[in-house]
Amino acid sequence: MKNSLIILMFFVAGIVSGLFAPIPRVIPESGLSLYVLYVLMFLVGVTIGADTTAWKMIKSFRGKIFLVPLSVIIGTLTGVGLVSISINSLSLKESLAVGAGFGYYSLSSILITEISGETLGIIALLSNIFREIITLVASPLFAAYCHKLAPIASGGATSMDTTLPIIVKTVGKNYAVISIVSGTILTILVPFIVTFILKV
């Protein structure tokens, strides 16, 4: 997620080539992306497994720190489930899968595209990018008018890296570890929860 700009550049470059370059229709339908996705998921696993600092940090904390990512999961899915009533074209399942990206837009949109097609994939990409942007912009408001955990909850999976600086700035250094642990746990869970929701 650190390379958000590079990621967006590749995405935009793809759109531009799709729009204007004579791309043979074979490429999007070749199934190539499915194999790249398998490689990606494997490597995501490798980096999770090898992340000893994350494991140590999670282990060193008393149980209550897990309540933060848990409340983000319950809150996000409930909130998304409720607003999805107003969106006729999306099923509850599809809406929940988009929400279960928790701001981790690159991985969630790729997964959702592969399982449910590019229309839902693009909704997931935009929705999760919005989650990061809104957190970056609104964290000071959340901290001032809601509560200290609000910016962390809003950041979701991004509270471990891209939105961490603004979170620490608005709620203080003693929330940094909670923010990192919550974001890390959510980041690890995204591929599992998204796949689970769409496949059950």
Partner: protein, 90 residues
Amino acid sequence: MIVILTVLTGGIILGFLMRNHEMMIRIADRIMSWSIYLLLFLLGISVGVNETIIRNIHTIGVRALVLTAGGILGSVIVSYIVSRFFFRDM
């Protein structure tokens, strides 16, 4: 999508076993970034050639924003309970 979850879990186990081979992990991390770039480039292409998506990008954007608002609001509200009862002393 059993395959995805199996591959992911297999990766976690292998990564855990190789956690001290920093060089390998760094290579894995690099390939991971590039496969994300490649996949989002491919997603971009399929969006670009898909006239239905391009024509409806406004509606799609609004839907995405509504979902985001619901997700953020929901998690801010539920985490308030956690904040109120478990992190009062902070």
